[in-house]
Subunit: 437 residues, 2 copies
């Protein structure tokens, strides 16, 4: 993609309404545009990043055998009355009357709807275990939307639902999802800590939230550094190993300020391992047994032919929220560096262009076609602007690798720079090798 | 995927509410489940098909240089008041009041919102031409939703918007999209006819709808058979060639019953070329110049620095509707055969299994892993059921290629069948070659 063609309305103004750095960066680089309070359009740059995050989430859901489907955004109030949550949910639920006066709503979550799908589809334990998920827009009518995509009204979320015959099986599904979440966040270059959590309006007795470290995060984190020493690769994808994994993670001290007690922290964690930082919640998993299946009459035949309420859990990842959270975790000192796996581009070519000399631009175009042939998704900054401004701009766009075509490039050798590192002069073939690694 | 694990609630009952065959098939094979009137959940089988259609649409939009983005589903009424359509739109617009009493709506289309994005982002002719698109859920509060996903309330649609400096340039963008649409439908194995159309509530003076042939279609079609003889490959992706393409297509007689006049038909089309059939609209493109940019003050500087309203067109493809339309076009005599490019699976393995003999199942599992290694997306019917029932079921699921592991298979040779054709006995390596073609 040539930058002059890319629909990316970059602005130099620091947007006044943006209080945190992810919101600022997303507006400045034209990743998003607010359409009304707490509701955003995703412009091409932001859209690309979100799609990459979505795809990693999808792959790691599929990897544990979860099946993708899609529930609608608009739901009937009927099923929410069955579960008893229609009145409980409060004003954050966007309530709608259709033209015939029927009570509808924009789904803030989907426990009821998936239970309705399941009860009409599955009758026997033989089809279990089952995990279904979808990645769909949700709406919560926040009274004070803020922090850009971090606390907005319309948001993009992966929510999965597990169905099991017994409590014991359900906990196995829970562990699979626990594992999937850690792998998902790892692939995005994030350090995620699972923490025992309250279940809130979803319900149940077992719940973890996944919190990534970011100094600007909303929650204070008190944890033992050793939690980052656990190597996920040591676990196998079987019930016993995944159970051990969850135990290994959860026995290490890590709490948010809600549960923090100084005396516990000092008792459980050696001084040199004490980590005090901030974090952002990016995922939350729940096991709530028959909380929905019982009132909604979602029954299956067990091995003896007896009807029993299916045991359910639900598992969310904030896909649009992750875009903001990843910026919070990676944007420092006016430089944003996207993790390779979710960067909008694999590399950017930055030629030094002047009105009278387009030689560098021509070289850059040759490099561009070469990289394209190698399936490298590359941005070419063909804008006629001085190099200092270009570098500032690309420090914000955040492509992790730059190929600079200017004074230092000679013949087939070009300046190659990884953001936040020193540049080196490399041949194009070596650059390609690095980019494909 | 093993069929016993796939979440596909197949039912033998002919659903009473379904009046047309696509709706019947989608309910019977568990592709969708109605959640409330005109609103559906997409279960894994239907979801897979819809995603493949979406991906083809996306690739052909990208191929003409359109850039993907995403606008939200919930919009403020303000911009619709600016364009003047808030009152015009009528009761099909789902109107919503948020918790603070603000008038919102669920977007039925996005001319206003994209114009709002554009006017705040682009100021100069230098950034033109520009085509932006998104693939997003829309809502129309149909008074009588029917025909399953063909006329439902919440539907998935690709809508693109072009922005040009002049009327002349805008018609070039229009032609690009015309070309993209023909390629898109071709890739789905559909015969699509572009027909001059009325512009309706979108507005403008130039419009075509794309209609695919299906005997059960909603519109009667009167056309010259020669329209299918035009080879799209003869055109190049430049303005002159695309203009010629549009002229070639539109000079051949093809109208729906609204515009049909017997005398014209007989005058323009030789008897032996007269085609009288039915069709389904799957795409609609519009050029409406400054209909939205003018009232919404979406101005750009032209080459002389003078402010002028940008010239716009809009271009829709019904992605969820296409799933139904493709079934209408391909489901005959109780056999559904998906076009290869959008089939939920590349092939299905159907072993003959009895309680006492699992030998065929074991063979089938070996074939399954072999095909998986070759990146072939294969379904294995591991359900213990007689072959006659299995065949009936797979006639509905519609995977175009079957590998039958039963009496006729010997050693490494298996019965291989393309739906609606005779089977042959082939070695596994030959089968793989056929599937990869």
């Amino acid at each position: 993609m040539y930058l002059s063609k890319l629909f990316v309305p970059i602005t130099k103004d620091l947007p006044a309404e943006a209080k945190i750095k992810s919101h600022q960066l997303m507006l400045r680089t034209g990743m998003i545009k607010q359409s009304s309070a707490g509701i955003y359009s995703w412009l091409p740059l932001g859209f690309k990043v979100m799609k990459k995050i979505e795809q990693i989430v999808r792959e790691e859901q599929n990897a544990i055998g979860a099946q993708e489907m899609l529930m609608p955004t608009i739901q009937s109030s009927e099923i929410w009355k069955e579960s008893g949550r229609y009145n409980d949910y409060g004003e954050e639920m966007l309530r709608i009357k259709d033209r015939q006066g029927r009570e509808m709503l924009y789904g803030p979550t989907n426990e009821e709807l998936i239970t309705d799908v399941f009860r009409s589809s599955v009758k026997s334990y033989k089809a279990l275990p089952q995990i279904l998920y979808h990645i769909q827009w949700k709406f919560r009518d926040e009274i004070r939307p803020r922090f850009g995509v971090m606390r907005c009204k319309e948001f993009f979320m992966k929510d999965a639902y597990s169905f099991d015959l017994s409590d014991e099986d359900a906990r196995k599904s829970y562990n699979k999802m626990f594992y999937s979440y850690l792998k998902t966040f790892n692939r995005m270059g994030l350090k995620a800590i699972p923490m025992a959590a309250d279940t809130g309006p979803i319900g149940g007795d077992l719940s973890h939230e996944f919190i990534i470290l970011a100094e600007t995060g909303e929650s204070k984190i008190y944890a033992d550094k050793n939690i980052f020493k656990i190597d996920l690769n040591q676990y196998k994808f079987n019930d016993a190993s995944l159970q051990k994994m969850r135990e290994d993670f959860t026995k290490i001290y890590a709490v948010t300020d809600e549960k923090y007690k100084e005396v516990d922290f000092n008792k459980n964690v050696k001084k040199e391992n004490q980590m005090l930082t901030k974090g952002i919640e990016v995922g939350h998993i729940f096991y709530f047994s028959d909380k929905y299946s019982k009132p909604m009459n979602c029954l299956i035949d067990d091995k003896k032919g007896k009807k029993t309420s299916v045991k359910m859990g639900s598992y969310g990842i904030g896909v649009s929220r992750l875009v903001g959270a990843i910026i919070e975790a990676n944007y420092n000192d006016n430089v944003m560096k996207w993790p390779k796996t979710i960067s909008p581009f694999d590399a950017v070519i930055i030629p030094s262009i002047t009105k009278n000399n387009k030689e560098n631009l021509e070289k850059a175009e040759k490099i561009y076609s070469e990289l394209k042939k190698q399936n490298i998704d590359v941005l070419l900054d063909d804008v006629d602007e001085n190099m200092s401004n270009k570098f500032k701009k690309h420090d914000l766009i955040g492509t992790p690798y730059q190929i600079i075509v200017g004074l230092k490039s000679k013949g087939d050798n070009f300046e190659f720079k990884e953001l936040n590192s020193k540049s080196e002069i490399l041949s194009l073939s070596k650059i390609i090798k690095k980019l494909k690694k």
